[in-house]
Symmetry: C2
Subunit: 361 residues, 2 copies
């Protein structure tokens, strides 16, 4: 963190906008309403509503008068009121782990694009991997009556959502399935991807391979571990106790885990990293070593190809996850009510160098 000094000064120049407001009144007191427009145009409320919404049945002359009043008053329809009456808020909620994790950037963007195509706004927030915070955020979004919810779950028990789903809040889980309820989910093939990645290391001669993953509470972490174990078993390789480490993705924890696996009499010659946060830290650890250790990471990341060696990854298509999930959400929103489905997107192994070096090279 930078230790910053802040220089603040009035902007000056240009016209100054007044921020005056009487805090005792609701803010809307300051804004013209349809009633004000109607009064000024000398028409009824409903006529203003017709003009604002482009409904037919207004003579050009009347329409013009209303439009003039709208412009003169600077009227902007209050969508909160509209929403209350119509029952649809034209907004969806997105709950993810951390807005700052680069993996979620393309995913969020894809969700936004689909929502935008349907005329909906995006309300979002981070759970910070805290189940309580996830729940709090999800229920706050339900209280705002979002039409639908895209959730990357932090917790493993989502029964608290049942009344909401029953009340009509379309909900799609992404990246990880819901816990203890049956709901739509869109995820990557974590098991298959990890198995492929580990098999790739085995193909290149490795027999002692370590696995460092996310917290075991997280579905993708255990699925990827399962893929690792499957690949090892298929090759007839044992998995020593010290070769598997699940936990926080904090750099300190990952560094310690990697260091431990690389020490001792029988160190691993290759590592499989369970997600992009882990991979980045492992890359740092390996960069400090004098001997090469092979690495395959789950998740692609920017610049992976420019590191030396390039980092071999199991890539998932984060944008597709977001797109497919949001498409499904809007399918539900527009009436379809099939039973919940589980959609699994394939991963792709991208060899770049770090995963192709033989042991002891």
């Amino acid at each position: 963190m930078l230790n910053i000094t802040i220089a603040t000064r009035p902007t000056g120049g240009l016209r100054t906008v007044s921020y005056s407001r009487r805090p005792s009144e609701p803010r809307y007191g300051l804004r013209p309403t349809m009633k004000d427009v109607a009064a000024r145009a000398g028409v009824g409320l409903k006529t203003v509503s017709r003009v604002v919404n482009g409904e037919p049945g207004v003579t050009p002359e009347t329409g013009r008068r209303v439009q003039e009043a709208i412009d003169a008053l600077g009227f902007r329809r209050n969508d909160s009121a509209r929403v209350l009456r119509k029952g649809r808020t034209a907004s969806i909620g997105l709950v993810l782990e951390d807005l700052a994790d680069p993996f979620y950037g393309p995913l969020s963007r894809a969700v936004e694009e689909v929502a935008r195509a349907h005329g909906a706004l995006l309300i979002n927030g981070s759970s910070a991997e805290d189940p309580d915070r996830e729940r709090e955020l999800v229920l706050a979004l339900c209280a705002r009556r979002v039409d639908g919810l895209i959730v990357i779950p932090a917790g493993d028990d989502h029964r608290y959502l049942e009344p909401e789903i029953r009340a009509g809040v379309a909900t799609v889980f992404v990246d990880r399935p819901a816990g203890r309820i049956d709901a739509d989910v869109v995820l990557s093939d974590s098991f298959g991807g990890a198995r492929d990645g580990v098999a790739h290391l085995i193909t290149h001669g490795h027999r002692r391979i370590g696995f460092i993953g996310d917290h075991p509470r997280i579905h993708t972490a255990t699925e990827r571990l399962r893929g690792y174990r499957a690949a090892m078993a298929e090759a007839g390789l044992p998995v020593a106790d010290g070769w598997v480490s699940l936990g926080s993705t904090a750099p300190e924890r990952v560094t310690a885990a990697a260091t431990a696996m690389l020490a001792g009499p029988e160190p691993v010659t290759a590592l499989f990293a369970g997600n992009n946060r882990v991979t980045v830290t492992v890359v740092r650890v390996l960069a400090a070593l004098t001997h090469p250790v092979a690495l395959v990471g789950f998740d692609d990341f920017e610049l992976a190809d420019l590191l030396r060696p390039g980092v071999t990854v199991v890539a998932q298509d984060a944008a597709a996850l977001g797109r497919v999930a949001t498409d499904r959400l809007f399918q539900r929103l527009t009436g379809a009510a099939p039973p919940p489905t589980r959609t699994e997107l394939p991963t792709r192994l991208i060899p770049r160098g770090s995963g192709e070096s033989p042991p002891g090279a």
Copy 2:
């Protein structure tokens, strides 16, 4: 883009949640309201409101009866209705360029944290650097009556916001100032940072230095160019026509610009990249060269230290930008109405290797 095949199947197992809904009615018809709770508990509406909001003046016995009805009915207060009456939506809008740009991750996250501390939700969207889309999004947020707005502007004329600001929508611009209106702004010292970065290259012996930046419509692009010119001028160095290129940050455009500057009889020996998108592309271009070319980039980015050579950058504190801006927003929201201010956060030069090699090394 991956060409994906999607495997979809019913989830099965677990209890199945019904999604039934009569589309002709408003969704709220399905949810219990305070009126329903009042009827069931045999009390007045206001008493339910008191319990829901934890207001005093309810006997324990009455409170218990109301709470039972709330639980039995699965009541959740409709915040849309509350908002309509109270005049505050407890939500703020964040408009940025691209949710997927890693620079905005920490910024968004900081905005969210501050908003959360004030009990507000975040509604956000991307302008995709399109002024029309920015305007459309901002006005949609105003129609939803967000309490405040954090805007990373794409356009250069924000007079369309004047009526909104006057009506009480607190607005703070971040990263770039507002165009043609006087509003709060929080930004990094682009001029000083670029000047420092270019001076750093000059210190290491470079005399022919190229500048590749973002579109000249964008304030930070021109400020950084100004910093470049200042550093060159202070060192008594000329700036040849071909050494400056502003435009899209699309890889093709940046690659072409860099390639052109590196060709010809008098090629540049060093490049200054105007932002992280440009830097990443320039790194790719330089990686393909046989001779070293020095590079300093504006914006730090993950893994910059792990590239060979490490990439020297002028770092700005994106999280601090978001935090300071949102703090200011809530200051306005809680009554303070000082004239708009301009806050400039310092940058920090981080030498990592790419900016310290002499010409022709």
